[in-house]
Structures are given as structure tokens and as C-alpha cells.
């Protein structure tokens, strides 16, 4: 995701003397802002301004009605000792560990499998990509149906195979796993598409010459293809981590944080605090912690990639 900046031609020595040049420059500025102004204004109003306001809110105690009370960093100090929040961080971590490696590996594997011209390949690709459009609401309802202990397909299959029925979403140890599996179903397409594009960018000669040198298919994959894919791997890992840390929708539509809070994630916690208990300040503090954690993980992954000379950014 390299950000290509054009050479800025406007950086000439200032020629204040020439009014013609100045008028031209003002016209150019006006023209430029007439293009970028409306969208920039919206981004400022709906991202930059609320982000700044959330920081202020996080330093206040406020329920939306009474007079906000400035309490400094108390919301933050309360968060680090709030066992409910710490549990939410733990549950989110479990989900990240379950989901991210699986989605990256699944993407890689599916991309390799789908990157060939064989009959039915169109059908295979479509079947694997289509779940990407399923919403979290639909996926959630589907999950409760498929993994329903009594009526669900999954337990029905287990029954036919003579295996014991499981509690799935109603079991504190399995609920997060079910959510990760259904996330994977919906999102494998994303990592697959990215890897597929990267695979198609690798020059064929590279692989062919490795094969001519006597490498097996397996060797040429690990020694030629995989290193070429590493920037993409860094990219999709970061992307999936950011998404996974923000898990909310699927939890809301399956377990509502249950059973016994086993699937209560950071975002679920902050949503509950802000919009169920109207603790706007405390919720904003949780949101800022989320933001900072996301930022730190991203920076750590980028630094790691730079160290290993994987140029993803």
C-alpha cells in the first residue's frame, strides 16, 4: 500500500513581485479545493472532529444529560482495574489468535488451489467468494441455526456419525470458536483474493527456472513463491488483526456477549457501556484504548516487516 506522492511542482522560490503568478496560484488553489473540499469537509466533520471529541469525553464522566464532569484520567485508571474490561481484552485476544492465522493460511491455501485453469474453476471461485457478501446479521442468524444444539445441522451430522452433541454457542468454551469459524466462512474470500492477485503477479519464468534447476513443486513454492508473497502476508495479517480486534457484529447477532460473558469483546464492552448504561466518558476511554492498541500492533508489525526487509508499506 505504497502512498505515491507526485513531485510537488508548486515549491518554487516565492515570487511575490509578480501579481500574475499570485493570481494564478490563487485560482489554482480555489480550483483544487473545489474538487477536494466537499469530501474533505465530510471527513473532518465525521472523523477528525469526533475523534478529538472522544478524547475529551474520555476525560469526563457524563451520561448525556447531566453536566459533564471533568475527571482527568480516572476513566483510564478505572479501565485497567476493571476485571470485566480485562476479560473483554482476553476474549478479544482469544478471537484474534483463533481467527487471524486461520484466515491468512486459508487465504494462502485457497489462492494456491484456485490459481489454475481447470474445468469448474469458475464454480469453485464463486462458491468460496460468495459468502463475502453475507452481512454480520445474516451470518449471525445462520450461525445460531447451524450450531443450534437441538435443531442445528452440525450436531445433526455429529449425531449421524455417532459423535456426542456439543453446546457450541451455548458452551462457554466453544462459543468463540463458532464465531471464529463463521467469520472465516465469511471472510476467507478477502485474504484469498489478495493472495490470488499476488500469485498472478509472480513471473512464471521464476517458477519455471526453479523447476528446471530441479526443485520439486513443494520446494519451488517455499523457496520461490512464498518469499515473493511476504509483503502481502504482512499486509493481510495487519488488516485481519485490525478487523479482528474490532469484533462486534457477529457477537451481537449470535451470543450477545454470552454465555456468561465468554464472548464479550472490547467493542461489545464499549457499546454496552456507552449505549446501554450511557457511560459516554467510560465508553470513550475504552474506545481510545482500542485505538491505541490497534495502532501499536500495526506499528509493531510494520517495524517487524521492515526489519526483515519485507516491503509491504
Amino acid at each position: 500500500m505504497a502512498i505515491t506522492t507526485e513531485p510537488v511542482a508548486a515549491r518554487r522560490p516565492r515570487t511575490r513581485a509578480n501579481p500574475q503568478v499570485r493570481r494564478n496560484r490563487r485560482r489554482q488553489s480555489l480550483e483544487g479545493w473545489s474538487f477536494v473540499g466537499p469530501a474533505t469537509l465530510i471527513i473532518m466533520a465525521l472523523s477528525v472532529f469526533p475523534a478529538a471529541w472522544a478524547l475529551l469525553l474520555s476525560l469526563q464522566k457524563w451520561n448525556g444529560f447531566a453536566v459533564p464532569k471533568f475527571i482527568g484520567v480516572q476513566n483510564y485508571t478505572r479501565l485497567v482495574t476493571d476485571s470485566e474490561f480485562l476479560d473483554a481484552v482476553g476474549h478479544t485476544g482469544v478471537y484474534v489468535i483463533l481467527f487471524v492465522p486461520a484466515s491468512v493460511l486459508a487465504g494462502l491455501f485457497l489462492a494456491v488451489a484456485l490459481n489454475r485453469q481447470i474445468p469448474l474453476i469458475g464454480f469453485y471461485r464463486t462458491a468460496i467468494f460468495v459468502p463475502f457478501v453475507a452481512s454480520a446479521a445474516a451470518t449471525g442468524i445462520l450461525s445460531t441455526y447451524l450450531f443450534s444444539p437441538q435443531y442445528g445441522l452440525v450436531n445433526n451430522v455429529l449425531r449421524v456419525l455417532g459423535l456426542p452433541a456439543q453446546g457450541w454457542l451455548e458452551d462457554t468454551n466453544q462459543a468463540m470458536l463458532v464465531i471464529a469459524i463463521m467469520s472465516l466462512w465469511g471472510q476467507a474470500a478477502f485474504t484469498t483474493v489478495i493472495y490470488l492477485a499476488a500469485l498472478q503477479d509472480i513471473p512464471n519464468e521464476l517458477i519455471e527456472s526453479a523447476r528446471i534447476d530441479g526443485a520439486t513443486r513443494w520446494q519451488s513454492f517455499w523457496h520461490v513463491v512464498w518469499p515473493q508473497l511476504s509483503p502481502v502476508t504482512v499486509f493481510v495479517t495487519i488488516w485481519q488483526v485490525i478487523g479482528a480486534i474490532q469484533l462486534f457484529d457477529l457477537v451481537y447477532t449470535t451470543t450477545r456477549g454470552g454465555p456468561l460473558d465468554a464472548t464479550k469483546t472490547i467493542v461489545y464492552f464499549l457499546w454496552e457501556r456507552a449505549f446501554k448504561y450511557l457511560q459516554f466518558g467510560y465508553g470513550s476511554a475504552a474506545a481510545y484504548v482500542l485505538f491505541v492498541v490497534t495502532l501499536m500492533i500495526t506499528i509493531a508489525l510494520v517495524v517487524y516487516a521492515r526489519r526483515k526487509n519485507l516491503e509491504a508499506f
Partner: protein, 281 residues
């Protein structure tokens, strides 16, 4: 001729090892949708039987009829359509304008403005939710359709996407248009925009997916059932219609089918543009 045919068949058979991997995977990925469709078309009582049948004994429209008679699904579909169409239209106009401006025009504050916008991509939407909710309720936007589409009018990602695309168009085209006496707006509308169709399609797909499928924001901003989006409506079924599986699944089908159809038609586009916009640069 017979030997030639044999030859191709043999070559095909040699390749087909992957079918043993891909066919089960493809079927596995389709299973939830197939189940959804079967359940939507099952008689209600069969879905709460134990053990549940794998295939319904007969097809029934109970779920779909119940969905349209007993719930406001039609209204929610219309709401979602309005929200998505406005979001897409606004996104296409505003992001392509801004993307072009940041890619090609010289003006004061350009670099700073662009990096400020790109930086906002890092901000999680959950962080913005609380202040945005307060802001919207102050100006009376809560519990209106506008509350659902205003956050989708433009996005930093869309601007970034369009800018990257415009940078890939050769400058010579614009220079030629300028020599012919076209101003920046004319150049943009007549020369550049027609070339941007694939990027605009990508942007439209992203916006559609985002606006149509959004759940957390409508959940926060809309309480009036008449103004629910279809996602909010079906998510709410879980409170009110817990084990009415055929109705629930019919709702799922109705909420998902438009996007599936759209995806089937635009799939190649979707993948091609994703490659082109270069997540690798």
C-alpha cells in the same frame, strides 16, 4: 482422432487432483447458504423436530409469507435501498472529485490535506460512534434515515482508492485536453471520468457492501422500527422470533439475495479492480 481425444482426456485427468480438494471445499462453503434456503422453504414445524430432517419433506412458503405479512420487511428493504443508493451516489461523486484533486491538481494544502485524510483510515469507527451519536442527536438526526446514510457520504478509503487510480492514468491525456483548451473540470468530466469506470465500480461495490450490511451504527442511531434497515430488522428478530427458523431464514434470504445477485454479476470486476488498485502499490 480417437488417440488425440484420449490424449486431452489423459492430460485433464492428470490435472484433476485439485478437484478432490476444491470440490469438498466449495460444497462446504456453500452449505450455510443451502441450509438457509432449505430452512426458508421448510414447513415451520419440521425445523423444531428432533432429530431434524436433512431435507424438508415438502416445500413450504410459510416462512416467506409470514415474513412479509407479520413483519415490516418490505419497509426495511426500501429503507436499506434508499440508504445504499444515496451512499453510493454520494461516494462516487465526492470521492472521485477529491481523488482527482489530490492526484492531479496543484494547490496549497494538498499534501497535508491528503495525509490528514489517509490518517483517519486508522481511526476505528467505534471510537467515532459515541461523539457522532451525541452530535446527531443534538441536530435531530437520530431516528431518521439520514442518520444511517450521512456517515457513508464519503470515506477516506474511497478518496485513497480513487487517487491511486487517477495517478495510474497517463498525464499526457490531460495535457492533450488542456492543449485543446479544456479547463480542469471539463478534462475531469469528459476525459478522466469515463476512464475511471472500473475504479468507480469497485468504489460502488465497497460502498454497497458497507452501507447495506452495516449493523452497529444503525443499531445505535435508529430505534424506530419503521426506520430500521433490513440488517437491523433481521438482527432484531432474534429478540422477537427466536425459534421461528423458517421466518428467520426467509429474512436472511431476503437481506442477502440482492448482494449475492449483484456479486455474481460483478465478480470479475471485483477481483480485477482489487488487483489493479494495487494493495501492494
Amino acid at each position: 482422432m480417437a488417440t488425440a481425444e484420449l490424449g486431452t482426456r489423459r492430460r485433464r485427468r492428470r490435472l484433476s487432483g485439485w478437484h478432490f480438494v476444491l470440490m469438498p471445499l466449495a460444497l462446504l462453503f456453500m452449505t450455510p447458504f443451502v441450509q438457509m434456503l432449505l430452512a426458508a422453504l421448510s414447513p415451520a414445524e419440521e425445523l423444531v423436530k428432533f432429530p431434524p430432517p436433512f431435507i424438508p419433506s415438502r416445500l413450504s412458503l410459510d416462512g416467506i409469507v409470514g415474513l412479509f405479512n407479520d413483519t415490516q420487511i418490505l419497509r426495511w428493504l426500501i429503507n436499506s435501498t434508499i440508504v445504499s443508493l444515496i451512499a453510493i451516489a454520494a461516494h462516487l461523486v465526492l470521492c472521485s472529485l477529491a481523488g482527482y484533486g489530490f492526484a492531479r491538481l496543484q494547490f496549497r494544502g494538498r499534501t497535508f490535506g491528503f495525509f490528514a485524510i489517509v490518517a483517519t483510515i486508522m481511526i476505528p469507527t467505534q471510537l467515532l460512534m459515541i461523539p457522532t451519536y451525541i452530535m446527531f442527536s443534538r441536530i435531530g438526526l437520530i431516528d431518521s434515515l439520514a442518520a444511517a446514510f450521512v456517515p457513508w457520504l464519503a470515506s477516506a478509503f474511497g478518496i485513497f482508492l480513487m487517487r491511486q487510480f487517477f495517478l495510474s492514468i497517463p498525464v499526457e491525456l490531460e495535457e492533450a485536453a488542456a492543449l485543446d483548451g479544456a479547463n480542469k473540470w471539463q478534462t475531469f468530466l469528459r476525459v478522466i471520468l469515463p476512464l475511471a469506470r472500473p475504479a468507480l465500480a469497485t468504489l460502488a461495490i465497497f460502498t454497497l457492501l458497507g452501507a447495506w450490511n452495516d449493523l452497529i451504527w444503525p443499531l445505535v442511531a435508529i430505534n424506530n422500527e419503521n426506520l430500521f434497515t433490513v440488517q437491523l430488522g433481521i438482527a432484531n428478530f432474534q429478540n422477537t422470533r427466536r425459534t421461528q427458523w423458517s421466518l428467520l431464514m426467509a429474512g436472511n434470504v431476503v437481506a442477502t439475495a440482492p448482494l449475492i445477485v449483484f456479486f455474481l454479476f460483478a465478480q470479475k470486476h471485483f477481483i480485477a479492480t482489487m488487483t489493479m488498485t494495487g494493495l501492494k502499490g
